[in-house]
Symmetry: C2
Subunit: 361 residues, 2 copies
Amino acid sequence: MKNKVLEGIKDKATGVYKKILKKKTPELDMPLRSLSNVKYDEKEGYFELLGKKKERTLTVGTIKTFAQTLRMMSLSKDLIQQDDIASKREAYYISKNWKEAMFNAQPDSDSVMDDVEAMMMVNREQLGFIPEEKGGEIAGQLIVIDQDTETKKELRIDCTKFGSGAYSIPTSVEHLKFETNAKFILAIETAGMFQRLVKHKYWKKANCILISMGGVPTRACRRFIRRLADTKKLPVYVFTDGDPYGYGSIYRTLKVGSGNAAHINKYFCVPQARFLGVTPQDIVDYKLPTHPLKEVDLKKIKDLLKNDPFILHHKEWQKALKQMYEMKARAEQQALAKWGLNYVLEKYLPNKIKHPEKFLP
Amino acid sequence: MKNKVLEGIKDKATGVYKKILKKKTPELDMPLRSLSNVKYDEKEGYFELLGKKKERTLTVGTIKTFAQTLRMMSLSKDLIQQDDIASKREAYYISKNWKEAMFNAQPDSDSVMDDVEAMMMVNREQLGFIPEEKGGEIAGQLIVIDQDTETKKELRIDCTKFGSGAYSIPTSVEHLKFETNAKFILAIETAGMFQRLVKHKYWKKANCILISMGGVPTRACRRFIRRLADTKKLPVYVFTDGDPYGYGSIYRTLKVGSGNAAHINKYFCVPQARFLGVTPQDIVDYKLPTHPLKEVDLKKIKDLLKNDPFILHHKEWQKALKQMYEMKARAEQQALAKWGLNYVLEKYLPNKIKHPEKFLP
């Protein structure tokens, strides 16, 4: 994989170099990154790029960005060869030594990094660039196989052995391998709910892997779930609050990705994800205490119903969102505590997991 | 410890019960939780409560809150006895079965929980209540000793064995024990910098424990550092961005706590913390790339200089903040990457750590 990326970078650079030798104008092309260049295909499972491209030809006007793009490619090459990493912030500061090709603000360097990512058709972690934020904790029936960065010795990390703590997902997960006999992955919105399930070792009773997303999952968390689910052929069940944010932001982003990052959804989406709860129907069935929807929630539901290709594709989601709109109420996953603190793991989850076919798509 | 809390709850409740039997008006008293009831004592090391108390006497007007306070104490008693936990959110939902003593909104139940916490003079984790949010990752020369929640068997979690990943701190850390030969704890603001130090096993070279705070540290993260530093007599060095937020919010909160939670600062402050960098003088000495201070940053500096008892106590901090105010510039910890990606661990940190006496207090 690493070698393929290295070769890709060298190919692109050689192309530019040869054009220059022939006294022709060099150019770099990359897919256009915008919602207008995206479609949703259920079989593929994510927002997919259409064919539109943008071309960066060397002219007086583009010379700085052109040079910056080449330097960014070169930085990536160095990172891969030296087995090092750079965060987006660090890449920006490194450019301070690129003389005239220096970036003046981080959004500019981020954007060129996105271009290189799209150009090489890989995710930026494969280019040696890591995200700034951490996020995602694991507990349960899983052994993560990493290696000691110094000795390259294999490290086996047993996620059943963390007590009340958990394994924290690194910012780049491309190199990890997995061993597991678990039956499914349960991805959980809140840290509080995760801690309850860990405290009572729900992962043992249900033979599963618990993942705390802590709100909208980070890139590393999404990629981790995707790679784990793919390589081990595991279903992914998602357990969020019953509200438009849980459905339209957390779940939808995990499952199919987002519009403005279409060139990487392929790597970060989790098409096998299915929505376990809390559904609007759960609010009725389990007589959950609710909070009234605010104006902004109602607007979000309308937006999703009108503009989101994923929702437009799935009648079940349209029905659920309309039901919530009419109820004008939302419920948090902790609302199940009304029936006792451990109702969630003694009744709600076991009942639900008997019928994955009833989960929202 | 657990038994002491249980006895405290029983004592208070028995007091109320006896008064009622004697047909007298029962009352509950607790420390007043506000900045007006706080002082900063460097020797103690945290914002400390003065003696002011508030009393909750049973009257027609207070009957609901009085009942809720007793029910909350009773919930805490159950949690401790059953070795269970409840998040603030869950405690709120449980109250939905308290009939007339039900809370109508979570801020009300949070506030009563704070009252009980202050009344018992413990932190709420000791009452069985856990915070909603997770946060804080560890890598390096540390073995955390937890226990299997089911079998009660000891679990030894070796934080040198996680490769590129890390140990994620649980939401409650009261029960953890530690083994270490490390020389210091390095608490780091950003996940990106933490990941760099982990990638290059800085903890091995420097014989230390790395902790990623991810911005302002959570309660669990602060308490973890405090307990670890206390029991193992370790110095704590703090490495944040060079900006008013890093100084006044992240570092100050870690070291002495915050004003509106004065009754618990005793448990959550880390008086042994010292500020390693990035200082305003570092920006000069290391010729770091900067960003201009915004209006809100300048205002924050003025506020700190005028109103913060911690800053008012320390001339060195006043000097540093004034220096930054005059430079009108801030620098991120990644700015050191200007001198090479690993300059931070090959030069900056080793140079600094030779002279802890020069750290800001």
